[in-house]
């Protein structure tokens, strides 16, 4: 089973986000980038599938601050090969990123064909499209999104996947391989790997690099972000201050007033 995982870094929203001086994007100066959470689950699912069926896991990631750490961590967790897609321009949209990725997948040796191409179902900055369906389109492969479980039948060249629907309903789908899957969450939470193992991976295994298309090659953005702003605090919430005991007392009063106690 040959599995390809595509990773993308996104701003850590736990940190304070600021709008850039031009008002059309994020201020990159103080931005901390982390691995997009659904992508972390896509990697985990790939590793689980490798353990179950054997084979290899290749990880390709778009270049971004701290992406090397993420790639070395992927190696330490059990990935066989990691590739950094370089020359990504700031302000690259998801649509351009997908074009860059599919270019690299086609042109770099040994990345394709793969049986399974996994990536996160969605990222918090996917303003102009989702990576998984975009790649499925450009690689002319089937696509299933919001996937939480994958069973593959290598001989039959098919996979059975579970997709989430509203209300806790799940759908079981059969798809031919290869397929592009948008992973919502892995069968198990992403594994922890000790720092010592990551350090060992840094020393023993290289990060390969592959060039990307430029924004111009990708045709430029069709969706233009004209203004970005922090959401106005609508003032809907009445804020309660004080010690935990004061707050608790006040809330209890409100609960009683509203008849919920």
């Amino acid at each position: 089973m040959k599995i390809l995982v595509l990773l993308k870094m996104v701003p850590d929203v736990v940190e304070e986000l600021e709008v850039a001086p031009d008002g059309k994007g994020l201020d990159l100066e103080f931005l901390r980038m982390i691995l997009s959470e659904p992508d972390d689950h896509a990697l985990e699912e790939a590793l689980i599938l490798k353990e179950r069926y054997g084979g290899s896991v290749t990880v390709a990631a778009l270049d971004a601050p701290d992406v090397d750490d993420v790639l070395y961590t992927a190696l330490a967790k059990g990935a066989d090969r990691v590739v950094k897609v370089a020359d990504i321009e700031p302000g690259t949209t998801t649509r351009m990123a997908a074009a860059a990725l599919s270019g690299v997948l086609r042109e770099s040796t040994g990345l394709l064909p793969a049986d399974l191409i996994l990536t996160g179902s969605q990222a918090i900055d996917d303003l102009d499209g989702l990576i998984a369906p975009l790649l499925a389109h450009s690689l002319e492969l089937p696509y299933v999104g919001i996937v939480t479980q994958v069973r593959a039948d290598e001989a039959a060249k098919t996979a059975t996947v579970i997709k989430e629907y509203p209300g806790g309903v799940r759908g079981e789908f059969e798809t031919p391989l290869p397929v592009v899957l948008g992973i919502q969450s892995a069968e198990k939470p992403p594994r922890y790997v000790p720092v010592a193992k990551v350090r060992a991976a840094m020393k023993s295994q290289p990060i390969e690099t592959a060039g990307a298309l430029t924004a111009a090659d990708a045709g430029g953005p069709l969706a233009e972000l004209v203004a970005m702003n922090k959401p106005m605090v609508t003032g809907a919430a009445e804020m309660i201050e004080g010690s935990p005991e004061d707050i608790a007392g006040r809330l209890c009063g409100i609960f009683a007033e509203r008849g919920v106690l």
Partner: protein
């Protein structure tokens, strides 16, 4: 006719989804402001009678095909593309739900047309459609315009009230033809939610935990409050994915929509996927250490602080009051 506004009516398991009416309400406003007709696109097999509910649209374009029996994004996108190439709408509104996710992106890619995701509102300014979008889990808002047509607009649930999208009059229904292959992806069966656990949508009081709760051990603090209130514990996506709570306790997009009398959100940031499932609770109290957390925009009462301090104090106070 070229230049019309289209709404993709979502149908799943024999029903038109609520979100379809929300999109019709929003689409109606946009179409009226631009002075063009609003058309709903219904793609299904043997469900023409459902089109009658879509009277907020001037016309329903009904595509009937065996490959459209299930809303497989691949196939729906192909059908939509064929119709759009023929009829050249100006904009197509598609719901960002688990059922429809992917249709918009695939259609935009196939048409080399602009796609805009995460829309919460649409406005018309100087004859142009401006999309209001939420990004970064609700931490930023953006105004986005499209270059080219049709603009394919992914709309979050909740953009308008579904009531505004219902109409008593029946729309004109036009049968349209699409040529589709057998779907590559095939539905084998639906798996119903596991029974046995309590139904969080039936609880009067819910205490929800989010990523801010930090560790599985802290879930117990919320559980204690829930018990004291005579309610139940639930959670947002990250907590479920971490395995801290079972899937049956998930509130939001893939989980359940809840409307309890009291909803205490502890360490829940308020990403759109979560808010969608709890915004109609009668009384919402949010506890979060981040004063900018979007949850404070839907909460009635907010506390900026550590949920791990507030929860035990609140449990004590509720206990004392109950005697």
């Amino acid at each position: 006719m070229a230049g019309n506004i289209w709404v993709v009516a979502e149908q799943w398991r024999g029903e038109i989804s609520e979100v379809s009416f929300e999109l019709l309400a929003l689409g109606r406003e946009v179409a009226d402001q631009l002075g063009v007709p609003l058309e709903a696109v219904l793609m299904a097999e043997g469900r023409k009678e459902s089109a009658g509910a879509l009277g907020k649209a001037d016309v329903v374009l009904y595509a009937d095909h065996s490959s459209l029996a299930e809303p497989i994004p691949d196939v729906c996108a192909e059908a939509l593309v064929q119709l759009a190439q023929e009829r050249r709408p100006r904009a197509i509104l598609v719901a960002l739900t688990n059922v429809s996710m992917g249709i918009g992106t695939l259609a935009a890619a196939k048409l080399s047309a602009p796609g805009i995701n995460f829309c919460t509102d649409l406005k018309v300014a100087d004859g142009r459609i401006e999309a209001q979008c939420v990004l970064y889990g609700g931490k930023m808002e953006a105004t986005v315009t499209a270059h080219g047509e049709p603009a394919i607009l992914g709309i979050w649930p909740g953009a308008r009230s579904p009531e505004k999208g219902r109409a008593t009059q029946a729309p004109a229904v036009e049968d349209v033809t699409v040529t589709l292959p057998e779907p590559r992806v095939r539905l084998k069966r639906y798996l119903e939610p596991e029974a046995g656990d309590i139904d969080i949508s039936q609880q009067d009081a819910l205490v929800a935990v989010g990523r801010g709760i930090q560790s599985k051990d802290n879930v117990a603090l919320a559980e204690e409050l829930a018990e004291t209130l005579g309610g139940a514990i639930c959670g947002s996506r990250p907590v479920i994915d971490q395995g801290w709570l079972p899937l049956s306790r998930q509130v939001g997009k893939s989980g359940l929509s809840v409307k309890p009398r009291l909803y205490v959100a502890a360490g829940v940031s308020g990403a759109p996927e979560h808010v969608e499932g709890m915004k109609n609770a009668s009384l919402i109290v949010a506890i979060n250490s981040d004063p900018q957390a979007p949850i404070f925009n839907v909460a009635h009462y907010g506390i900026v602080g550590d949920a791990m301090d507030v929860l035990p104090a609140l449990t004590e106070a509720v206990r004392a009051r109950k005697g």
